[in-house]
Symmetry: C2
Subunit: 206 residues, 2 copies
């Protein structure tokens, strides 16, 4: 009796498709089981492949983790990429930015559970820390540029744009934190409006 193929109905993919699929599976597993709880075996089982395939593509778990951070960063970049601020008046442009920052879709994009896990790891792994720092740095620069534009157009008073961006990111990250622990579905909209007002105030700060 010849050994039959055990394909289990799975299609044979190429690296271009398989690698992102693995990273996404890692991300989902991370949310459910925590970082150290997201083993290679569990990540593989979720997408019905052999654990060895993951090591074949990523070599070891650290590389897989770095790929995950890249994935999260790309998700954020994609989100910011969909933001169209062009063609708006300076006032409308700033208003639209505030709207996006404090919209539900925006902050739900990357589940904060994943952020916490990766941030916790970043304390122990300098390479991961560097990548995350890069993410926030880009975010901060993006905000600062918008603030500077608004300032140049006279929409807000002139000030240190980078410092203002720092304040706003502080608020945004704190809000992700706070929402998780306190804010129910119904209060959420109220809280976000409150945060939007606080952001406006911070932009006017000297």
């Amino acid at each position: 009796m010849p050994k039959t193929s055990r394909n289990n109905g799975r299609q044979r993919q190429n690296a271009e498709i398989r690698k992102p699929e693995i990273v996404k599976s890692f991300y989902q597993t991370l949310l459910e089981r925590g970082f150290e709880g997201a083993s290679i075996a569990k990540v593989a089982a979720r997408i019905n492949i052999h654990p060895s395939l993951i090591l074949h593509y990523f070599g070891n778990k650290e590389n897989l983790t770095l790929a995950l951070v890249d994935y999260v960063i790309e998700e954020y970049a994609r989100l910011l990429g969909t933001v169209t601020l062009e063609g708006l008046s300076p006032e409308a442009r700033l208003e639209r930015l505030l709207e996006i920052i404090w919209s539900r879709e925006y902050y739900e994009k990357i589940h904060i559970a994943g952020s916490f896990s990766l941030l916790a790891v970043s304390f122990r792994n300098p390479r991961i820390r560097e990548k995350i720092e890069g993410l926030y740095s880009g975010y901060r620069n993006f905000l600062a540029k918008e603030i500077q534009k608004a300032s140049d157009a006279g929409v807000i008073e002139h000030q240190d744009a980078m410092r203002t961006a720092a304040r706003i990111i502080t608020l945004i990250e704190g809000a992700r934190h706070f929402r998780h622990l306190f804010v129910g579905k119904d209060e959420c909209e109220q809280y976000n409006q409150d945060m939007k007002a606080a952001t406006r105030m911070m932009m006017q700060m000297q």
Copy 2:
């Protein structure tokens, strides 16, 4: 040859001393290795006891984790307990509170790496989540009470104290976040002063 005692120079303690020692060791190990990386064996090795002793006292790892959350909560309570606001004028009282909140000693008390790890776990473990919610809830009430006092005394304009407390906690947590990724030792003082000013502004918000 009779079996000699193998005390290894360690004193025999009682539960009252040993249990907190174990919890603190767990906390330190957590900071270094992450939650799932902080195994009972490693926690035991750090204080030179047998892993079985930990199970003897805590039964299983979940109970140990719950004890850790209690420990962190107590550390915070101890910190707030040292705050003496009594006997000050309403103005000075509010000023002192702001000073404490944005002092280095205060935010360094509980290393944010530990917070991230526990918060990440809180998504998966409702009992831990409850405890952490309780911690923040108490914190929020404490702040709200102080804000109300200042408001009654006319130091700040009247407003919704709980909402203001929510804003301030958002800022505090965001700042812990931001500091980790951005703020160097030298910029830190500047950043904290900036945050203190932002807190003042939030207290005046309508």
